[in-house]
């Protein structure tokens, strides 16, 4: 493969991960902002809200992790 093609292919991996990260950043921002608003309304429930927020964040993060896994599979030969 010519050198320019190899460089373009190598560009694809971080680009894909960046696009996945945009979506996850947007989702996490919304989740955390809703949690903060709820905690401000009712400070005594902040323990439960924090737990639920962490769990929700792990779900949203998982999709970006799937993109990372696919990069590993392609790059390191699964």
């Amino acid at each position: 493969m010519p050198n320019e093609t190899i460089n373009l292919v190598k560009l694809a991996y971080p680009l894909a991960l960046g696009m996945a990260a945009i979506g996850s950043a947007y989702g996490l921002g919304r989740a955390v902002s809703a949690a903060m608003e709820a905690m401000a309304r009712q400070p005594e429930a902040s323990g439960k809200i924090q737990t639920a927020m962490i769990i929700g964040c792990a779900f949203i993060e998982a999709l970006t992790i799937y993109a990372l896994i696919s990069i590993f599979l392609v790059r390191f030969g699964g």
Binding site: I54, I55, A58, F59, E61, A62, I65, Y66, L68, I69, F72, R75, F76, G77
Partner: protein, 351 residues
């Protein structure tokens, strides 16, 4: 990946060329030629961790080996297994070599070789099982009414988790699922955190060990659904609880959808855990290798050619890795709990 770009970084050349000595010294070392040993193994400055003062530099300290083997392997920190296999102890006639060759043989067949790639994971998961077992045994040796420190700490952890899971599953029927969920949580937690201890490796590093955990959860959930509901209600649950002729007509479609949904749940569980743990391992490995390269670049004008220890650039990421390991263990067991809840009959809602 750094193998291609290391030549552009000053000090990358030296970091590579410094370590053909020990690696090529002993003849017919199986760990050199076998494809399963990750090529870019990295040794870090252990003294920065505050422990392991006796651990000197090792053959793997050169970072990006130019050996030409293992181009497709991801970088990873050293662990006991790798160090032992590559150390000078592993000479042909010694007992060490016989033990290592027994547990980690070099095979030609790529299928068998890919199976043997998991040997380290099995070994370190046995270590984590031993750790969990030992701590719990120590705590419960004398079940005093007024508990000592270890017993009260363990009781606190178990009780917090039990209340958490019982809050989801319901107090009445949830108790019988608690042993599985607690064992799952503790096992995954110790497995994940073991990777952060110097010279150890998290056994949840490969996809194979995660899909095993996912399959355990899958079979347990289906079995408890079958046992609690009975086969007829279980099948009706799979078909979507049809009432009326229209829904009965749609029921094959619903069956396909439900079966697919049930199958994808353990896969997504294990992929999430696998991605997080392997990602953090590679992150630590790459940053440690970067630290060695940076040290090589900095020390090269002074005249020091071979760099074996480096600035531990990966140190802040240890805390991030500890956080995500704990959270992922919690997420795994929490989701298993929710899947069990979905299998139980829903008329528990009226409490």
């Amino acid at each position: 990946m750094p193998t291609h770009d290391a030549s552009e970084i000053p000090g990358g050349e030296d970091a590579r060329s410094g370590h053909d000595g020990p690696a090529d010294g002993s003849p017919a070392q199986p760990s050199d030629a076998s494809p399963r040993v990750p090529a870019h193994e990295v040794e870090t400055d252990r003294a920065a961790h505050g422990g392991d003062q006796g651990a000197g530099p090792d053959a793997g300290g050169g970072g990006a080996h130019a050996g030409g083997h293992g181009e497709g392997e991801a970088p990873e920190l050293e662990n006991l297994w790798n160090i032992l296999a590559k150390s000078p102890l592993n000479k042909e006639g010694t007992a060490t070599h016989r033990v290592i060759k027994h547990f980690d043989p070099y095979v030609e067949d790529p299928t068998q070789a890919s199976l043997h790639k998991m040997n380290q994971n099995v070994f370190f998961s046995l270590i984590s099982v031993g750790v969990v077992w030992y701590v719990l045994w120590l705590a419960m040796r004398r079940r005093a009414m007024i508990p000592g420190r270890l017993q009260s700490a363990v009781e606190m952890v178990v009780e917090t988790l039990s209340n958490f899971f019982l809050g989801i599953l319901g107090e009445k029927h949830g108790r019988r699922y608690l042993p599985f969920l607690l064992a799952l949580f503790l096992f995954i937690l110790v497995n994940n955190l073991l990777g952060l201890v110097p010279f150890m490796k998290s056994s949840t590093n490969l996809f194979q060990s995660n899909i095993v955990l996912g399959l355990c959860v899958f079979f347990y959930v289906q079995y408890s659904g079958l046992r609690y509901n009975g086969p007829k209600k279980y099948f009706l649950h799979m078909v979507g609880n049809p009432e009326g002729a229209v829904m009965w007509l749609m029921s094959p479609l619903m069956l396909v959808l439900e079966v697919l949904g049930e199958l994808i749940k353990p896969v997504s569980l294990s992929l999430r855990l696998f991605g997080n743990i392997m990602g953090e391992d590679i992150l630590l490995g790459v940053f440690a290798m970067l630290g060695i390269m940076v040290t090589g670049a900095l020390l090269r004008p002074v005249g020091i050619e071979h760099v074996w220890l480096g600035i531990p650039l990966h140190f802040p990421f240890l805390f991030l890795a500890a956080l995500t390991s704990t959270i992922q263990a919690l997420i795994f067991s929490l989701l298993s709990c929710v899947y069990i809840l979905l299998m139980l009959p829903h008329d528990e809602e009226e409490r």
